[in-house]
Symmetry: C2
Subunit: 407 residues, 2 copies
């Protein structure tokens, strides 16, 4: 007996195979105990729906996909940077903006100045935007606090905002985002704080499942990331890496050497870097919003990733500076229109491969035994999810661990 059963649906299971989207026409999904207990063609159901399940739901002839996963966000922050966006388009240089107090440190100031309630409320609104697009799991990074107390406050806000929006939040400690101004000239002291105080504190409070570091000429060097990554790996945390966004810092290979679950951005990753990622099973997280907003000149090496069997995820990178993107469907479209992904690759990038990027093996596909996180769509074909730019979401309903949640 199922707790519930979905019928009148086509299924995009996203299980690899000969059918595009791993699709099953006229399918059914049986749910028990929050997990998928049965999936297949409706004609193969071992009985009539009413006899098999306590509740029978109709998808009205639409499509069911795995609940979408936004695997890279900075959804907790104070303020916004619309006027900095305007200043840049008026031709004011980055250097001048930095002198005026702009850039990432302006968000650090605004985030430190915001109360936890303000941070939670702001994040909850943005997570609701994502939920409207069928998202059921969101990764949220810290990194605008940069003190023990402020990093924890951000992560607590993320944890609180999730249930308000009906999404599951997984916290990531991005302590190595920038060196805060009060540590100017004392980088090693900050690195020590990150690895030996922030990390144990966030872990001790159960706020994180992963860590992240910004490996880039303007941010942190490989030898600086090492102690932070070692401590995180020893604690069993998932490793993520911002890499090769502005120049080739050999970030793909670095992520591979560390066994990171993902390397993210990757505009300048070399073919060698892509090969190393493929061998080590590192997922490439593509962030077309940041590429668009920064007016970047180089696209990530999608052909190399395909050649070397690197799984590609797609995410919003939702943040107030380089990617104020509040729609995962829009990120899917931009991955297609800017980077040349197919709509099937884009959907895979926000389901199966997004789960890999977060080190999660319990979701991201419609498969027996996985969590019953579903998105139900009023579309004729799953390519429509990447096709429209803006407009009302075609989402009909979401199911989170078997339970329908407000769309």
């Amino acid at each position: 007996m199922f707790d519930s059963l979905w019928v009148d649906a086509h299924l995009a299971t996203m299980i690899p195979g000969p059918e595009p989207y791993g699709s099953i026409r006229d399918g059914a999904v049986g749910i028990r105990g929050g997990h998928i207990a049965w999936i297949g063609r409706r004609a193969d159901l071992p009985g009539t729906p009413g006899a098999l399940a306590r509740q029978v739901h109709s998808a009205e002839g639409g499509w069911i996909t795995p609940g979408l996963i936004d695997c890279h966000t900075h959804a907790v922050f104070g303020g916004n940077r619309a006027q900095e966006f305007e200043a840049r388009l008026r031709g004011i240089s980055y250097a001048e903006l930095a002198r005026q107090g702009g850039g990432i440190l302006s968000t650090v100031r605004a985030t430190r100045a915001a109360s936890r309630e303000e941070l939670t409320r702001g994040a909850a609104f943005r997570l609701q935007d994502l939920a409207t697009d069928g998202v059921t799991t969101v990764e949220v990074k810290s990194g605008y606090g940069l003190t023990v107390a402020d990093e924890l406050r951000m992560l607590r806000a993320a944890r609180e905002a999730g249930p308000m929006a009906g999404v599951e939040v997984k916290g990531t400690l991005l302590a190595l985002h920038a060196v805060p101004p009060e540590f100017s000239g004392r980088r090693d002291a900050y690195l020590d704080l990150a690895a030996n105080e922030m990390l144990p504190a966030a872990l001790g409070e159960g706020l994180i499942t992963a860590v992240d570091a910004f490996l880039e000429g303007i941010a942190f060097a490989p030898r600086e990331v090492e102690p932070f990554f070692r401590r995180a790996r020893d604690a069993g945390l998932v490793l993520r890496l911002h890499a090769d966004q502005l120049e080739d810092g050999d970030g793909g290979r670095y992520a591979a050497e560390w066994g990171a679950a993902s390397a993210d951005h990757l505009e300048y990753t070399s073919d060698d870097g892509a090969r190393a990622m493929g061998r080590a099973g590192v997922t490439a997280v593509l962030l077309p919003g940041a590429y668009l907003v920064l007016g970047a000149e180089r696209r990530p090496p999608v052909a190399s990733f395909r050649n070397h069997g690197v799984d590609m995820a797609v995410a919003t990178d939702l943040n107030p500076g380089s990617s104020p993107v509040r729609s995962l469907r829009l990120a899917m479209n931009l991955a297609c229109t800017l980077f040349g992904l197919t709509p099937e690759e884009a959907l895979c990038g926000v389901t199966r491969h997004a789960a890999s990027a977060m080190g999660l093996s319990d979701r991201g596909q419609l498969r027996e035994g996985l969590r019953a996180d579903l998105a139900i769509w009023g579309v004729d074909h799953p390519s429509e999810l990447s096709y429209w730019l803006g407009g009302a979401s075609p989402l009909l309903a979401r199911v989170k661990a078997g339970v329908p949640v407000h769309a």
Copy 2:
């Protein structure tokens, strides 16, 4: 005595002047008979709000802009082309797609096959998407019917859909969009039908205020457009032109010679073309959605337009093939991020300059005597309207000819 008065508002009047956005801090707008009767600083109001107006509305400290205008859409159509979008990204060529029945003629088939009710309902949904972004006026083109009956049916659907979405629709006869298959080899007969039957029929039924033609190597030549434009100009209709999208067809100059209100797309317009447009007062309509979706290689010459004093409008180009864009705020963002417009230019492009592109002088600014079409926004600064990508609209309310309409 005003019918109504808006207070607790900052105003982006979009009237040219030294203040960015023509802004007035702590302003007030008085409305009488559907028009703006008073506008200025609240401190300069000639009395207390309650004594001046029958109804006093608070904008809650937000910003009021002119109601937005989407000056270039193909919002009425049958079907969608998501699977063609997917096929293109899988590497199937245009030529092959055309052989398979894809491209614009596939939308012509689907539009002809759709009932008027289906066309109206689909358009109303899409116009509601636009309304959510503060749009109060939308231009809707025909061009997927290409018979007298089907062009009229599209324009009637557009007229009916407007009130359903609370927006004012202005119809444009785009008879010269493509030569329909049944006229293959008989182009002159189709041109004759367009100018001498479609145009008088649409005009006679009061369905249009403008005409449009697709001037391009793959579409219509200047001498083919001429009889259609002459007849339209003689009838007092506004002229619009799709021009220079795929190659420099001297479309800017052609639009200038004909005194067209706008030339649209313009990726390949020469500096001479821009100069001619500036002298003749032709508005350049920028359509970044089509640029993005087609993966175009060349940006419209924004610097030339600025140099030659050409007004730049921004629009969605909402259509199922090259620009499935259902958000004017998103088009504003793309005009900034892809074409380098400032957020102020983008907002001007969907207000004052969008009105010019449609030949309308009664809206597009907050100015005494103009129509009281307003959008009220919960933002701290008008740059936010171009800054966010996706997410819930910050619109608080719309006012159409003085009357609040559902957002």
